[in-house]
């Protein structure tokens, strides 16, 4: 953790590691894909009542379309706006593919991959710091992850499209616990088969 100026915060998250922080209403989190082609799995919980949490289906329903983009409102399971995507130099992010787990990796890629680190391991450990469990893990956001869905429903994780330094910004509309897993997946192209570090920066957002 590094303090970069008055009240501001920055942290480099190593490859394959989790992170969490409470984002106050009006603060903006910038997530930087430092080296490019790195998927960042994220969950949001209402800081005052974590039973209220990010809901992928509510978010897509309210938006009427399938991808997370600039302007997307991140909606809770109680129908409230938790945060907005306020800047994006990458273009398109997923919220339908979920996070990788040892168990789903074993199904997708063969049983040997069960013994590889996975996002759900990160989420379980990071959430445990906040009194939350596997039960609280829902379909997450996948920043910088490219998952096109075609008209027939075909669903493919393809090569990450983010370049080194690409970023996305999320501005909180309530106090939110923001939890990240810097994705360790090496079995599909979401991380270019090479997980790398990311950086997060938090600042107050004037005018909000």
């Amino acid at each position: 953790m590094t303090s970069i100026s008055d009240g501001a915060y920055a942290c480099d998250i190593p490859a394959e590691r989790p992170w969490s922080h409470v984002l106050r209403k009006g603060q903006t989190l910038r997530i930087i894909d430092s080296e490019g082609q790195q998927a960042v799995d994220a969950l949001l919980y209402c800081a005052d009542d974590p039973a209220e949490r990010y809901s992928s289906q509510d978010t897509l329903r309210v938006q009427g379309s399938a991808y997370i983009e600039l302007g997307t409102r991140l909606i809770s399971n109680k129908g409230r706006v938790m945060a907005r995507i306020t800047a994006d130099s990458c273009g398109r992010h997923d919220t339908s593919a979920g996070c990788c787990s040892c168990e789903s990796n074993a199904v997708r890629f063969g049983e040997a991959t069960k013994y590889q680190h996975a996002c759900r391991e990160n989420f379980i450990l990071e959430l445990s710091k906040h009194g939350l469990t596997k039960r609280d893990i829902v379909s997450n956001l996948n920043f910088f992850m490219n998952v096109p869905i075609d008209a027939s429903g075909k669903f493919t994780v393809v090569d990450g499209i983010s370049a080194p330094g690409n970023y996305v910004e999320v501005t909180a509309e309530m106090d939110v616990l923001f939890v990240i897993s810097n994705c360790p997946q090496v079995n599909n192209p979401c991380n270019g088969f090479n997980p790398t570090p990311i950086r997060v920066e938090i600042r107050d957002t004037p005018g909000l």
């Binding site: 289906q57 593919a97 979920g98 199904v107 075909k154 079995n187 599909n188």
Partner: protein, 271 residues
């Protein structure tokens, strides 16, 4: 690990991924069966365990033992049925839409597909399906969605799930994203959701075979993208029955290498 070895592993992983992707996506083109006929797949009278009709706006909670199946019939052709479910012995294991679409390389499920849990196991197999038009992306109705659609908050899936969960000692934390049957949602090139009403017919049904002991909630509320005003939701019929035991050539168990592995992991619970 040397850089060269790391590169070789990455290249091998990419090759495996491309092979799995090709196999998985070709399945949709050539390997999946035709939908069940509307008058097909009769259930023998002595196989029926329980039958009930759920009125529009309401929900039912059912316990299914491994090997039992649930037929869900859209009697009027105007309903959609949102579905969640938990493993009876450990309710932290539950329907996982994300893994279901990711593992099967498709956001569309139909006869021959499965609904997976978050633990790499199969909850339910779609052993019969006349429709093939189901939604895993948008989810069910909520107080806000019904207010926006009908000008007043009506009975809705989110509150049905809360009530159903509460009656078995669970709460909002246990409610995962849902599958909605008879909900013909597709995407245009820009990723916007479309509703395809010509893919709904009176009498459409699915048979869902339980692959572990389950608690299932079925909510009979209009899908949030259904444009019918007022809502066209009619009653749906639920028939719990004993499914024929799966053979070696069972459609769902042999649909793909991924499905075969998910079944192998599920069978270990009962080995």
């Amino acid at each position: 690990m040397t850089a060269q070895t790391k590169q070789e592993i990455a290249e091998a992983n990419r090759r495996r991924y491309e092979e799995l992707r090709a196999a998985g996506q070709e399945l949709a083109l050539k390997g999946l069966p035709e939908p069940t006929a509307l008058d097909g797949a009769p259930i023998a009278a002595d196989a029926v365990i329980h039958r009930e009709q759920v009125p529009g706006g309401w929900y039912a909670t059912l316990r299914l033992r491994r090997g039992e199946a649930l037929r869900i019939v859209d009697d009027s052709g105007g309903s959609s049925v949102s579905l969640i479910g938990w493993r009876e012995e450990d309710t932290s294991e539950r329907v996982n839409c994300a893994d279901t679409v990711k593992v099967q390389w498709s956001a569309a499920i139909s006869k021959g597909r499965v609904i997976l849990s978050d633990m790499g196991r199969v909850l339910l197999s779609l052993v019969e399906d006349t429709s093939g038009a189901h939604d895993l992306l948008v989810g069910g109705s909520t107080p806000a969605s019904t207010l926006a659609a009908f000008g007043a908050t009506t009975r809705n899936t989110q509150q049905n799930f809360l009530a159903a969960a509460a009656k078995i000692g669970l709460d909002v934390r246990d409610i995962p994203p849902c599958v909605t049957l008879f909900a013909p949602v597709s995407l245009d090139d820009a990723g916007r959701f479309l509703w395809n009403p010509d893919r709904k017919r009176p009498g459409d049904f699915v048979d869902l075979r339980a692959e572990m002991n389950l608690i299932i909630v079925a909510s009979n509320c209009a899908h949030p993208l259904d444009p019918a005003r007022p809502a066209a939701t009619g009653p749906v019929t639920l028939i719990k029955h004993r499914a024929p035991p799966p053979g070696d050539d069972d459609l769902c168990r042999t649909a793909s290498p991924e499905a075969a592995r998910a079944f192998a992991f599920t069978d270990r619970l009962y080995a």
